[in-house]
């Protein structure tokens, strides 16, 4: 695809306006897969504990490209395209497993755990006839290999030699925010997939959008899990692509009137839980941060909502569809009380989450609402025009940050 095929008609350099064609245009979507997901970024692929043992593997995607992530016999993690060098079939068919090597089912071509083609069935033919030409060099054929890097139990992969080192890609502030939550060996508690009827960017924007949280999610505000009037702020990485928003607990929220004054749906006085054990949270990280939502461009979310911890992987599935892969986790050293608390609080998130259910449908509302308005502009102006860290959550700074990074990669 040439650059000329992809739309570039943005309304000037402002980050505060986004045309709706970016969520709809097929050519633009194809360009995103090449320039972003397969470009100089780091994609989250799995947890290190998902491939803990030697030979343990998982299959996932970089954009739409199928990949295998596997730990070899020396303990190194490798990632390579899940595509046989022979006829292009998937090499591994299961979501996860353990392998000594991988063999394509179609014609039994074999790969080692680094993704090298090491065996061709009947390479020398049968009874002296047939077989591969003698000059065929297995080392010249193989699925594309990816760079792999880990950080605090997270595994990222990149197809591009131009992506900076993962540590530099994340930056110090985001690294600190990840390290704060991923303090030790994790224990996976469950996995769910949510199929969302919207462009992948609408979900990423939603996660970065600190403005919507307490307005769309009435459950949040009603039980004072977060309100815009609570303390906190949003950190935006220098390149705009990553963010971390935090909510700091305040014992006395004397500003609840702000919601009533504005007539907002989110304020329901007198709504109380019959069983309040759901919100029996403890300050497990010892810093008073009740809630932290963090994104790494383009596809990763780390979530701490009270004691409910999860990673979410965003996978595009065409211009108008995506999948969200949730992995709920705790820590290997959780007490039975903390374990039980995490299971209860998992009601807050996921496809049926009290504070995330709406995120499953609101992207579809935009996708459907703007269907006839590809050239109209969405307004992303809360908190001004710029994409920098702010000490309030009544801002769309981190959404503008996303577009700053997005446009840079797409200009590529």
């Amino acid at each position: 695809m040439t650059t000329a095929d992809v739309r570039h008609d943005w309304p000037g350099s402002t980050l505060a306006r986004v045309p709706y064609w970016v969520y709809q245009d097929e050519a633009n979507y194809r360009a995103e897969l090449r320039r972003i997901f397969e470009g100089p970024v780091w994609n989250f692929v799995c947890l290190e504990s998902d491939v803990a043992a030697r030979g343990e593997y998982r299959t996932t995607f970089i954009g739409e490209m199928p990949v295998i992530v596997v730990r070899d016999n020396d303990g190194e993690i490798h990632a390579f395209e899940n595509r046989c060098a022979h006829r292009g079939a998937l090499i591994a068919l299961d979501d996860q497993g353990t392998a000594k090597h991988f063999q394509c089912v179609y014609h039994a071509w074999t790969y080692d755990l680094e993704g090298n083609l090491v065996g061709i069935a009947f390479e020398r033919g049968s009874h002296g006839r047939g077989g591969m030409p003698p000059e065929f060099c297995k080392a010249d054929h193989g699925p594309r290999k990816l760079r792999v890097a880990t950080f605090h139990g997270l595994v990222f992969a990149s197809l591009s030699p131009e992506a900076p080192l993962l540590e530099d890609y994340l930056g110090e502030a985001v690294r600190d925010r990840i390290a704060r939550v991923l303090r030790g060996p994790v224990q996976v508690l469950g996995r769910f997939t949510q199929a969302l009827p919207n462009n992948w960017k609408l979900y990423v924007e939603n996660v970065k959008d600190t403005y919507h949280a307490s307005l769309l999610h009435a459950f949040f505000t009603t039980f004072r899990v977060t309100r815009l009037t609570q303390g906190g702020g949003v950190l935006v990485s220098p390149d705009g692509g990553h963010h971390a928003s935090t909510t700091i607990d305040r014992a006395n929220d004397g500003e609840s009137g702000a919601y009533r004054e504005q007539g907002l749906r989110s304020d329901h006085e007198g709504y109380r839980l019959v069983d309040p054990s759901l919100l029996d949270a403890v300050d497990e990280f010892g810093d008073g941060i009740k809630l932290q939502i963090l994104t790494v461009f383009p596809n990763f979310v780390l979530q701490q909502i009270a004691n409910c911890l999860a990673v979410r992987q965003v996978l595009p599935k065409g211009p108008g569809a995506m999948e969200l892969h949730w992995t709920y986790f705790g820590f290997a050293d959780d007490t039975p009380e903390m374990h039980g608390r995490r299971l209860k609080q998992s009601n807050l998130v996921g496809p049926a989450g009290y504070v995330s259910m709406e995120d499953g449908c609101v992207g579809g509302f935009v996708q459907r609402g703007a269907v006839a308005a590809p050239d109209a502009l969405s307004v992303v102006n809360m908190g001004g025009e710029r994409a920098e860290s702010q000490d309030t959550r009544a801002t769309e700074a981190s959404v503008r940050g996303f577009w700053k990074a997005y446009r840079r990669y797409m200009a590529g």
Binding site: Q194, Y328, L343, N347, Y354
Partner: protein, 162 residues
């Protein structure tokens, strides 16, 4: 299965009636009646076959008291936003698996069609109910209902309980 001399074998018609009543309450949008199908100290969980097989304990919905079920209904009615939709449950025949500490352990297959406000009908979930039923004040109730969905992939969102 439970032995032929087990008292719970006689429960089969009552279990079938309970399952039918449960499905009607949800499909008729009488969600407020739903918590009463459970005893006060109960476990209701929606999970996937994959999580269940691997022993991963988290649920899409996880409630260990009737109060949490009441809270779920209150949140759906008062706080959560989702497009108007309804379910049609088709509940299969219960298999009585065993006596379970004064009750019966059963497994019942189900199929749920979701009907959206624009008329779209989709097969939303299939799976099995893994139940522990007990008698309380002369009525059968769920002490445990683990909803094991065959697929772990949920379309858009799961609002109404299964």
């Amino acid at each position: 299965m439970a032995g032929v001399d087990s008292p719970v074998v006689d429960w089969l018609p009552r279990i079938s009636q309970l399952n039918a009543d449960y499905a009607r309450a949800i499909d008729d949008d009488r969600l407020e009646d739903w918590p009463a199908f459970f005893v006060e100290r109960c476990l209701y969980k929606i999970t996937s076959a994959d999580n269940h097989r691997k022993g991963l304990p988290a649920g899409i919905v996880y409630a260990d008291s009737r109060g949490m079920l009441q809270d779920r209904v209150a949140a759906l009615r008062q706080a959560n936003i989702y497009e108007r939709q309804s379910y049609r449950h088709l509940v299969g025949l219960p298999a009585i698996l065993a006596d379970a500490d004064g009750g019966a352990r059963t497994e019942t297959p189900f199929l749920v069609v979701r009907i959206m406000r624009d008329g779209t009908m989709d097969l939303f979930a299939t799976g099995r109910y893994l139940d522990v039923l007990v008698e309380e004040n002369g009525a059968l109730r769920f002490r445990e209902r683990i909803v094991v969905c065959d697929s772990g992939r949920i379309d858009t969102l799961l609002a109404i309980p299964l």
